[in-house]
Symmetry: C2
Subunit: 456 residues, 2 copies
């Protein structure tokens, strides 16, 4: 245990909370490709998007010009209930590893949703309310996004209808119950409440569902109900924008103590956490002001960055959503029994996909047993029980720190601890009982799905 | 939403963390009665207690002279990983209630154990390690104490054996799994690993166990294993001492902004939270320096303060522990299907029992459906999903604030939010499905148990 002047937790004051989100796209030379109409393959217009999404959110989705978007006071007031989140110096982990590296993590799990998802749920509910809507629909896999949205909707007095991937719904009944505490309606997907759900149930009786299918059902429900819109917790540009609060706070806290990270590590499913964490650092890189080593970590069972193709693809199973140009494994890809529900999506944020293609960041994939080993070590020394998703970043942070031990380098490592694992004990149990497999898709499996990509 | 100068969360800096625990007993004129040997009924000596408990903890248990006990640096270093905990101004709850009252809560749920229990688990594990022990044994009901102790033992490299009330073990498998993450062994109680366990199983086949029984098994295991001692997470004087950190921080944070509470509210099971929260405030009252209205809240299914008798009683089912003079419902009392596992103990801290008898505090009891109504309202406006135990305090804080609304008084209310309810979703589900009953023991039931009290 050291007694350096850097405290265990660096808290910003409420006054130091960022007042604007940072829109990384404004500083990208190669902008992410536009969303396309799934029928015509023409770029989606604002008015087309507004049939599905809230008006203000569409404006944010399409804005690749303005670098800073002021955060409305009402949202800032909500943020103040749980933000700024702590930036923690992992002294105990460093000691355990006997590494000269300095490890920091931005901890986003200290709110009831238990994850960073609340950062985007609040503005999405706020803009829906401002537009005078009755409610919103969404999908959830692991349940973190659904919980966050239920909480935000409860606060703003909006109806919230969540389609939860059936496998998750059954394995995580308590996640469902948390959403009920916040007044949300939760339907296992696929369900017989939508045309696409009924079709999938007919084609695949007994299916445990997928995110892509739940998205289709949520969109259908939003479009068919007066006063409803669909909201999404990852992948979209607007989500990256809201999540920039994570990176802005991290950078402000580090700047306060004159700390500069050498390596920045985040888990990557749809990209909401990674995109948020790296935003201001990546901004400096894009402007040639600094260099950081940025590492995206994904499960080897769902390797969209490391083994996916960069192409236009469907975002959902029912093919009702716009096409997005992204690193993708194909909309029909299945990631096996991957216990990190938040890292099971076939595609990756178009912003992050473009940055990866342009060489601004690296990506690695890790098998889940290695991830849970890291999770347990982290829990035992740092106290916090991490979500399986977050533990992907922990794994690589530990590996990087161990490299420093070998080389003697005193690198400063920053990683995103996106949430807690309280609702993932079933997965931990599988790990303890040695019942966890490390599925890795074959090249044939990937090629089979690539062949089904839309011809754009 | 107001924009007063008091922030949502008042955080002390690490430098402002209290450096000593406050030993309330030093300032009590009527000291709590000593523990008695269950055979001889003579006061337990230090050397007798040291056969069961760690040496340094016995010294703390018996010390009713020194008002301040310095916190060792090693413990302070651990505290710094998650303390100071936030003091939150419940602006959103105030707005929802439209009350002129100002409501604050001290939030102890922001660590993996999810509750205030860690505050005493750390010193208890630390002193065990310092004494060169191999490990410790304990019991857990709701699982909060077991989780906290598992975490502390993992940090200090001690073996940790937890006897978990069988009903909880079966209803809360994920609590068990959290303890396993931290390397603890968890045994459902009663078990066939102890003589008392086997005896109880023979007499009551199919029993779901009780805290009193799990205590007996843990003590037996400690005494019969070389290098082991027994530790306890509530009731004892030493636990009240460690938990004083909660009150000391609360008072320091309020003093920083010139805030003075009129009413202080805490839930009370064995008393660890309430005793800690009120410690420095009660100290001022004992010295005649101030007056506060202090309210203990207990479930109407387990009303040790409001309906118990003040007498020496057994602390455990097997009658192997010392006798304690306390407010008690009798060691054979059963609290029905009370979903707040942390508030099911038949007795109350001797310190708090004495203060209650001497008129320094009030107590009220509330039925659990009213508690869950308050819990859900709180979750929806303040965001945090509270533990059922903590929600007892929320219930009365809300009731007090509503009284202020009627009278127009601008009282300042402080309550303890001891933990989060992530592992209590089964109870929330019962509440949502209207399957929760409000058991209230009859006078006859109580008298029957009082008749079994030891003759001292």
């Amino acid at each position: 245990m050291t007694t350096e002047k850097i405290p265990y937790k660096i808290f910003l004051t409420e006054d130091e909370l960022p007042k604007a989100w940072y829109n990384l796209r404004a500083d990208m030379k190669n902008k992410p490709a536009p969303l396309l109409n799934p029928q015509t393959h023409a770029p989606m217009t604002a008015s087309e998007l507004e049939k599905v999404f809230c008006k203000e959110l569409v404006a944010q989705e399409l804005d690749d010009v303005n670098p800073y978007i002021p955060i409305p006071d009402e949202i800032l007031n909500f943020y103040r209930m749980y933000r700024p989140s702590p930036l923690v110096r992992a002294y105990c982990l460093e000691k355990k590893l006997q590494t000269p590296a300095k490890i920091y993590y931005k901890f986003e799990g200290q709110n009831t949703s238990g994850s960073h998802k609340l950062n985007s749920a609040i503005p999405q509910a706020y803009y829906a309310k401002k537009q005078g809507l009755k409610g919103v629909t969404t999908e959830t896999g692991a349940g973190q996004w659904g919980t966050a949205l239920a909480m935000a909707c409860s606060y703003y007095g909006l109806d919230c209808r969540v389609f939860m991937v059936k496998g998750s719904y059954e394995q995580k009944p308590f996640r469902r119950e948390v959403m009920r505490v916040y007044g949300a309606g939760v339907t296992p997907s696929p369900s017989d409440t939508t045309a696409i759900g009924r079709q999938i149930l007919a084609e695949h009786p007994g299916t445990t569902g997928s995110l892509g299918c739940a998205i289709s059902e949520a969109v259908e429900t939003a479009v068919n109900n007066e006063g409803y819109r669909y909201v999404l917790g990852s992948v979209l540009n607007l989500v990256m924008l809201h999540q920039s609060i994570v990176g802005l706070e991290s950078k402000a806290a580090m700047d306060k103590y004159g700390i500069r990270p050498d390596v920045i590590i985040g888990c990557a499913g749809g990209g909401s956490n990674l995109g948020g964490l790296i935003a201001p650092f990546m901004g400096e890189m894009l402007k040639g002001q600094a260099r950081y080593e940025i590492i995206a970590v994904e499960p080897s069972s769902c390797p969209s960055l490391t083994r996916g193709t960069f192409a236009y693809d469907y975002c959902d199973t029912g093919r009702v959503c716009p096409l997005a140009k992204m690193k993708t494994l194909g909309a029909n890809f299945s990631p096996g029994a991957n216990r990190a529900g938040g890292l099971r999506y076939h595609g990756m944020s178009p912003v992050l996909s473009q940055l990866y293609e342009d060489g601004y960041m690296k990506a690695v994939s890790v098998p889940q047993t290695k991830v849970f080993e890291a999770a347990e070590m982290f829990a035992r020394v740092e106290g916090t029980l991490p979500a399986p998703e977050s533990s992907h970043a922990i794994r690589i942070a530990i590996d990087e720190a161990l490299k420093c031990k070998e080389t003697g380098e005193e690198k400063t490592i920053l990683f995103g601890l996106t949430g807690t694992g309280y609702f993932d004990m079933y997965a931990y149990e599988k790990f303890h009982n040695h019942q966890m497999d490390d599925y890795i898709p074959s090249d044939e499996e990937l090629q089979k799905n690539f062949a089904l990509l839309p011809k754009v």
